[in-house]
Every structure is written in C-alpha cells, then in structure tokens.
Symmetry: C2
C-alpha cells in the first residue's frame, strides 16, 4: 500500500483524462489548479475531442488518448463523464498506470446502479494493480511536489498538517480557512466514496510520513474498522490525530450514507475508540480548526490550573464559566501572587482569578500581568484577550468633524499601542513553555493578528473555544503520560 | 420610577461633572460621544480647573460649578475621581437634579471601604430624590434623543432593540457588533453596580416602552428577584426577552461578584425561572447576537420540522446532526416532494432530507429548491447555506498569469451569479411566512451579506447556531400558544 501511496502523492507525471480549456468545466479547473500551484512534474492533458488536435492547455500539449503518450505516467486524473470512467480505468491499467483519482460523482453514494458500477470499478482496478482516490472526490494536494490536483478554489501553503476529508467541499473550506490563518498543509485528500483507497489507508500513510506532524480528519464513517484500530494502536505516542466526526445522530448518519455512502457506527463506539487511542475529537469545524492550530502554536498543559486574564470584567466571568464547564481548574491565587500584583495595579483590581485589572487605561499592564502569571508556579496555562480597542473604532462613526479627527487619532494611537502590547506579549510567550490562548471575537479579521500569527500565537474566537482547546490538549498530555507510565511498568516487570 | 427613567433616558439638558478636552481622559470621551452621536438637547460641561476659565469644549461653554448653570438640568454625568463623587451627588441634589450617571469604579465591587461609600451614595441619593446609573458603569445610549453618554467607542444605529448589560465592556462590544450587523438599538444601558437603578428597573421600563420590540440582557446576577419575577409575569405575551446569564459556575459566580458586586443564584433556579416566563436564554455572546437578529429577521416556526438545503454534502451531515441534537425534527420528505425535485435535479441528488443537490454547478437550483421546500406543507422551517464560492476565491492564489486572470474572471462571474441567487432567495423569502436561516462561515465579512442584511435575512455562522435559533424560537412560539390556551380556558370557565 505504501508504494501505491508514495506514487499517488509524489507522481513524476500526471495524465488528465478529460482535460479542458473551457472555464467552468471540471477538466479545466483541474488543469488550472495543477498549474496554479506550481506542480514540479510532467503534465499530459488527454482529450479525444477534435478541437484539441495540435493544441495545448497552459502550454501542455493535448493528447487524443493515453496510447499516444510515450512517457511513463504515475498518476491518472479521471474527469470524464461517469459512463466512460470504466473505460478510462481499463486504459490506465493497459498502460501500467498504478494510481488514479476518479473525480465524477454518481456511483456508490446514489442508487443500486451506481453501487454496481462502483463495485465493478473496484474489481477491475484490483485485478489491474491500480489503486484510486474516489470516486466522488474533489482531489488532493501534496506539498512535496506542489501538486494541487483538485477541483476546489484553494491553494494551500506547504506545511506539516495532513488532512483527510470524507466531504470534498467541507475539505476545501477547511483548506481555505487554514490558508487564511497561515497554516500550512502537507497533504490534503478528499477521500470521496473510498471504493479503493480509504480513510484508513491515508491515515496509515500520514502516520508514517515524517513530515506530517499533525493529522486531521473529517470523518463520516469508517469502512475498515479493524485496520483503523490497528493503526491507531501503533500511533498512540507518535502524533496527534484530530477527528471531526459527522453523522452522530440518526438523521446525520442517514445523510452521511447518501453523501459518500459511508457506514456510520454508533456515536458511543466512536467516542470510546477515540478515547482509548488518544484521538482528539472536535464537535464542529471551529473546534477542528482550533485544535489544529493549538498543536502548531502551544505546548501541552502540564496540569489543568488555568489563570484567566480578561480584557474586561464580563469576559472574565464568561471565561471562568467556560473553563469550569470544560473541566479546567480556575484555581485561586496565593497571597504571595496577590501581593505581587498589588504592586502594579490600583487597589480595586479583582484580587482573584480571573485577574481583572478593572477599567485600567494603561494597556501595558496586560503583558506585565501575563508574565507574573506565567512565572508563578500556580498555573499550568493562561486564557487572555487580545487587546484590540482598534476593532471597536472601526464600528465607531462620529458625526462631527472633531469626532472624526479624534477617531483617526485614536486609531493611530491604538495601532501603535496595541502593536507594542502584542510584541511584548509575544516576547513573554517565547520565554515560558506554558500554553497561552488568546481570545478575540473579531479573529481573524484584524491586521494586528498578522503579528501574532507570524509568531504562532494561538487566537480563538470565544471563551468556550479557549477552554475547549486547553482541556483537550491537557487530556492528550495525560493520555501520553499514562501510556508512558504503562510501558515503563511493563519494562520493569 | 417611570418618571425618573423618562427623565434619565430623555433629558433635555445634560451636565457633565469632570468634562475634559484632554483626549484619553474619560471626561473627554464622554463629551466626544455626546457630540459624536448628535445629541439633540443642551450640554453643560463642568470643570473647576482654572484652565477651562472662559473656554469651551466642542463649542459648549465650560462652567466652573453647577451653581453657575442657571438652566434646569435633567441629567448629571459624574466623571470626577471617585473620592469626590459624593460631593457632586450632593451638589446635584441641591440643584434639584433628579437623575445621574456615576461612571467611576472602585465602589461596591471592591473592598469594604468601597461598599461603605456606595451605601452612603445610595442613601444620600434616595433622601435627595435622585436616581442614578452605576457606579462602575460605561454609561448609556438613548435613540430617542440620539444621546450617547458613554465611555465606549460605539455609535449605535437607532432601532427597536433595548439592551441592559451588567458588564460595561461586554455591552460596548455587543453594541459594536450589532452596528456591524446593521441592527439598531433603542436603549443601551451599562447598569454597573446598580446601587440605585437596577437591571429590574430598566427591564420594566423597556417592557412598557412601545418602541422597544426586543429586550436583551447580559446578566451576572439579579438584585431584586421578586421584582424581576413580577415584571416577567406581566410581560409573558408582550415582547421577547433574551438573556445571556454569566456566572453559572462557582468560579463564574465569584468572578461576577468581584466584577459588579452582583449576587448570582444557582443556575438551576435561573433556568427554571426563564423557562416559566418564556425568557430565551443564550449561553454565549454568539447565541445572544443570533437570537436578537432572529427576532428581527424571521417569523416564529409553527412546528419543529426542519428542511435542510445544504450548499455541500458535508455541511448537510453536520446540519442534520446539529438539528437533531437541538431537538428539531429532520423529517423525511414525501414521495410527492421527491418527485417534484426529481424534475429539476439530476438523478444522483440525495432523495432525502438534507436535500443535497450533489455537486451541482448550476447555482440557480438553490433558490428553486428553497421555494419547493417552503411551498410544501411538510416543513416548518429551513436551514440552508449562503452560496459564496467568492469567499473561497479570496484565499485562492494562482501562481501563473493565466491563473490570476481566471481567478479575476471567476470573481466577476461569482459576484454576479451569487448576487442573482441571493436576490432570488430574498424574493422567495418575502413570499412565504416560514422562517429560513442561512449559514455562512465567513459571516459577516462579505459584501454579499449587505444584500441579505438590507432585507433582514438571518445569517448565522454555523449549523449549531442555525439549529439553536430555530429551536429557541419554536419553543418561544409554543410557550406563547400555551399561555394563550390557558388564558382562554380561564375565560371560558
């Protein structure tokens, strides 16, 4: 299997069956994306239509048939109408092509006829030593060779996150969001109906890929449960696996089945399995994206004692609630720590956790407090707010001229103050190992965040998300430690 | 009480104790906001500092003392240092001013001394027939006279939502977000420590205010529980009350107490009370904002049968899960409805609810399907996605020149296609009474949304939010019907 996937994700040459130059057609989109993202291999568009005779697409000569291509092809991309997919696969096999992507839908996810056709495809491919992605897939991205062979408007940055998505469009949205957040992707694959290669195959490959540091999956249902369990068992201490499992309710399971023909099992079984193997579970796309970035940006908390440093009192209350509900410990500060803070804050600060400076106009207290909290041994992690009065100013529209000038002046003041606060915060973060999560309700829409993102500071949108990621990473850490302890005990025996 | 609040929220004249022209000072911010939002009454800045002798602020003459103001003052805004607040209140009373806002913090929310001072303030005010907002408040906004007497960077649009917030900064953030969403505000008040006027007083006033159609409260704890119960009992069929209750856990309750000195009760008691009086409860700021907009944008669902029309298969599965979990009924379509859809979609559509068109490139099917679902009598509400491939294109960066041109072309195509889809959807919405919620993960950051917002179309950020608002409004409708039934039964007896 590894050989197949090595070829699939690192082809030296790609043939596109059904390549087109008519914008709007999938065959054109695939061609465009291959070129758009700078694929470093050879490209062979194939289209028997007379109008392509002697023509090229983006400078690549169009061939009427694979028979006319003399070079060895590593990967075939099938974008022809579904009725002729089978013929193309047969041609691929005849030309000893070993991997393919079958883009068209209308197979196992639809009716009996579609299911029959899909089985037939699988049988032919297996007999012909060909493995394929799909059918009913959006394609994939491979950073190694900059190959974007997908029908989605996306252009991932290279990176160390590998993503498997059983939903194509949702996968593309995830890739697009990650690009917006500056997160790089090693592999992305829309696994489609998984008639040949399945979620479990990609998962195994990504686990064994040294450049993949984090694996994230949008899962509707497993097809090879035993394989999944075996892989996960071997992975436990290797790298984090984050899964957004859709199809957790009866209507959801039915929808998943008609979407990619997957078989969802009971949600309790998934939960138990995930727990057993330390797999992190996201309940929605936000949590999914937050967890991915959390593993990139912060260390694992060594305990669950959280210090809350809110930008304002109300946020402090909401964050305390969210933390407690998530199972974090909003631990009280020692008198010693209170005394230290007394030295820098007016006496009406909260004197407790949340550490609310109460209506301070001196924004520099936020980094100072952050450092006090991180250097104390009373907390394992911190939740705080991005200081961004700037974002309020954008919804502030004074009617009088002086007001407009004041607004402009305040924007300039805030731009510079908030940037300097952010820079001090980043310096402090680099000094301490402890995880800190920032909250901003306008994330990711502010230039200020670019400063944070460049330095891999974790920002989430609300208190619930902040508490969720810290709790999840804390539990993952506990899981790892337990595994380690158990294995040491075993060795000692 | 009504008389006091009438004067407070509709003053003909305002005196600002501690007015300033030094930007950065609260006294300057208040002055700026009064002018910025176009207050239609008289303004009297007061500051004994010699440097203001014979000077004005924004064209308003500065007086050394209230004694020097000959006109009758309706509202006093106190922005002086906390130690001299008491003196100012005494002066107000001597000059028969009946309402005030006390901005400074450092009273009941801090230590014993602060508590004592606050009690003293309250006693003096009560004896002197003066009611006040605060202390420890950000101020308020009143649309009637365009009075923004607050220290927040906000400039609300006039409208029919009245907001009470026990957290000042959170309140300002809420006002700012609502402005961004085009939602107008009738009254906003940051109630602060509520030493004189309290949450319950404002609530009663807003319930009786004809121009207030929706009431929304950020609540940390009630001070006059019996009054609250009495008001709510009288309100049940009048107007919706949405409450975000913070301080639901032990650490949250403690934080609330040190924030505004409020006394949170057990969360179960609040839940039971809210349920009894049909108060809609939000668990976080997103739900709070979603519910406010829901009441502005959509009718109450008559039942809980939801049709899901997803933009893509994966979103359909997630939305089915979210709907089922929220308690909505993802009801199966009749064969008749399936037959109707068969006439317009290729045969590989999902044939079930979610109604997934499956990889269609013809975006016009979305409005067509929406209309079929709304005109059928099989569903009470619809959840669908905003069609916005445009937002993906913004994170799409082709490297080759042709790719850049194609991107530009697709942006233009999508701009026009998506706008025309949106316009057709809006037309259909206007034709049917049934509530429809749109999901967009990039809301509110797209020009497309301006079209929807102008027509009061409800957009939320994710499937969970969509299911939450529909379920909440459905339950509110059931509550209203039950009350009606009960009262009819009573009459018949």
């Amino acid at each position: 299997m590894k050989n197949y996937l090595d070829i699939l994700f690192n082809p030296q040459s790609v043939a596109i069956f059904g390549a087109s130059n008519e914008q709007g057609k999938v065959g054109a989109m695939i061609m465009n994306n291959i070129v758009a993202c700078g694929y470093r291999g050879k490209v062979f568009p194939i289209n028997p239509n007379k109008k392509y005779e002697g023509k090229d697409i983006f400078g690549y000569k169009v061939y009427p048939s694979i028979e006319n291509v003399s070079e060895k092809i590593d990967l075939a991309v099938i974008v022809v109408p579904r009725k002729v997919v089978k013929n193309m696969i047969v041609q691929c096999i005849e030309n000893t092509i070993r991997t393919a992507i079958i883009i068209p839908a209308g197979f196992g996810e639809t009716n009996e006829e579609g299911k029959k056709d899909e089985k037939e495809l699988t049988r032919i491919a297996e007999n012909g030593n060909l493995k394929f992605v799909g059918p009913n897939t959006m394609g994939f991205w491979s950073a190694n060779i900059s190959l974007n062979v997908s029908m989605g408007y996306m252009s991932p940055l290279p990176g160390n996150v590998s993503i498997i998505s059983q939903s194509g469009s949702t996968g593309v949205v995830i890739c697009s969001e990650l690009r917006g957040m500056g997160v790089g992707i090693r592999y992305f694959v829309s696994s489609g109906n998984e008639a040949s290669l399945s979620f479990e195959d990609y998962l195994e490959y990504f686990i064994n890929d040294n450049e993949t540091k984090i694996i994230a999956g949008f899962l509707e249902g497993l097809r090879k449960r035993n394989k999944f369990l075996n892989i996960c068992k071997k992975n436990v201490t290797k790298k984090p696996i984050i899964i957004l499992k859709a199809g957790t309710t009866d209507p959801g399971i039915k929808a998943a089945s008609s979407h990619t023909g997957s078989i969802s099992g009971s949600d309790e079984v998934y939960n138990a399995t995930f727990k057993q193997y330390g797999i992190l579970r996201a309940q929605n796309i936000n949590q999914f994206l937050d967890l991915i970035r959390a593993f990139i940006c912060i260390n694992l908390p060594e305990g669950n004692r959280v210090a809350i440093l809110p930008g304002a009192g109300g946020m402090g209350v909401l964050t305390a609630d969210a933390s407690d509900k998530a199972g974090l410990n909003v631990a009280k500060p020692s008198q010693g720590l209170i005394n230290k803070i007394n030295e820098i804050l007016p006496d009406y600060w909260s004197h407790s956790n949340p550490f609310d400076p109460v209506g301070t106009q001196d924004l520099s207290v936020f980094p100072t407090l952050l450092e006090l909290l991180l250097e104390s041994n009373e907390y394992d992690c911190v939740i705080t707010n991005v200081i961004e009065i700037r974002s309020l100013l954008e919804q502030y529209f004074p009617q009088h001229d002086e007001g407009k000038q004041i607004k402009q002046m305040m924007i300039e003041v805030m731009d510079s103050t908030e940037k300097s606060v952010a820079r001090r915060q980043i310096k402090i973060l680099n000094k301490y190992r402890k995880p800190v999560v920032f909250i901003s309700h306008v994330y990711p829409n502010s230039k200020l965040f670019r400063i944070f993102e460049k330095k891999n500071v974790l920002i989430v949108k609300n208190p619930d998300s902040a508490a969720f990621v810290l709790k999840s990473l804390y539990e993952y850490n506990r899981f790892l430690k337990k595994i380690k302890e158990n294995s040491q005990t075993t060795i000692q025996r």
